[in-house]
């Protein structure tokens, strides 16, 4: 039997779904009102994370990539600081750079 078969066509027309009664529509529409359900509870960490990243257009992947990049940068800066051979003259160098005519160590003051 194919869809061109008159009997098949008769079944499709005769057995098609009719519109559900309005009384049932109302009963279904009232389900959320009659059966109140609290939104899923979220813990404090997830609420904080949600507040930070759950903006429209910011996907989880984007948020995760940004967090990973920040972490990598922090680690790199930290490692660079640890590997520095500057043993204490950092502040002096900064002062000398900004105030070129100011003595940068107590020893320079006679």
């Amino acid at each position: 039997m194919t869809e061109h078969d008159p009997f098949e066509r008769q079944l499709r027309v005769g057995l098609a779904a009719e519109r559900a009664p309005d009384s049932l529509r109302r009963r279904i529409a009232e389900i959320p009102l009659e059966h109140l359900r609290p939104a899923r509870a979220a813990g404090a960490p997830s609420r904080l994370f949600g507040a930070l990243f759950a903006r429209p257009g910011v996907s989880w992947a984007t948020s995760f990539a940004a967090a990973a990049a920040s972490l990598a940068l922090g680690v790199w800066l930290g490692m660079a600081g640890l590997a520095s051979t500057d043993t204490g003259g950092g502040e002096d160098a900064l002062v000398a750079l900004v105030f070129s005519d100011t003595p940068t160590t107590i020893g320079d003051v006679q």
Binding site: M1, P6, F7, Q10, L11, R12, V13, G14, L15, A16, A17, E18, R19, A20, P21, S23, L24, R25, R27, I28, A29, I31, P32, L33, H35, R37, P38, A39, R40
Partner: protein, 186 residues
């Protein structure tokens, strides 16, 4: 999420899980007519069909996680729950229930033709109601819900071959029943 723009059942279900009433409303409006149509065909009774459909949508609201994406389409799962609930009722159609299934509206103005179409529709309703439950469910899922054979088989939790066998037997019985009353030729 703007649920007005969502066409995907899975997205709507996620919103329903978050308590979004508009998503539930949209989801129920999308599936209500066919779910009711299937329930009406399988139970043969309006009151039972309404109760079953309300119960099933209440379950969707309270337990949206009962449907798991990836197993079957939401609609297939929904009709499976509807059919199972109808079969659980284990009630035969009550006396007079067959007339409770309304005939589809016929736009033809001719009153005589209306009567003929109504009588033909009533004969079809009676013939469907006289089918065994499983055949009735197979017919309802295929012709009322408009599911493909694979989906209807999944909804009934049987193989496609088993569904096709049910449909062949059901259509043979329908054709014979309608032919006895002169509505179709054998």
């Amino acid at each position: 999420m703007r649920t007005d723009d969502v066409d995907d059942d899975a997205q709507l279900l996620r919103a329903v899980a978050d308590g979004d009433r508009r998503a539930f409303d949209r989801l129920s409006r999308r599936h209500l007519d066919r779910a009711y149509g299937v329930a009406l065909r399988v139970t043969g009774n309006r009151a039972d069909a309404e109760d079953v459909v309300q119960e099933v949508f209440l379950r969707v609201w309270q337990r949206p996680d009962a449907w798991r994406p990836g197993q079957a389409q939401f609609s297939t799962w929904l009709y499976r729950v509807v059919v199972n609930r109808c079969l659980d009722l284990k009630r035969r159609p009550k006396a007079g229930a067959l007339d409770a299934i309304a005939e589809p509206e016929d736009p033809r103005p001719n009153a005589e033709m209306d009567l003929v179409a109504a009588a033909k529709q009533r004969a079809l309703n009676d013939a469907v109601s006289a089918l065994p439950e499983r055949q009735r469910a197979a017919i309802a899922l295929t012709y009322t819900a408009g599911l493909k054979n694979t989906e209807a088989a999944s909804a009934l939790d049987i193989s496609v071959k088993a569904l096709e066998a049910l449909l062949v037997r059901a259509k043979r019985e329908l054709r014979e029943a309608l032919a006895r009353q002169g509505w179709v030729q054998t």
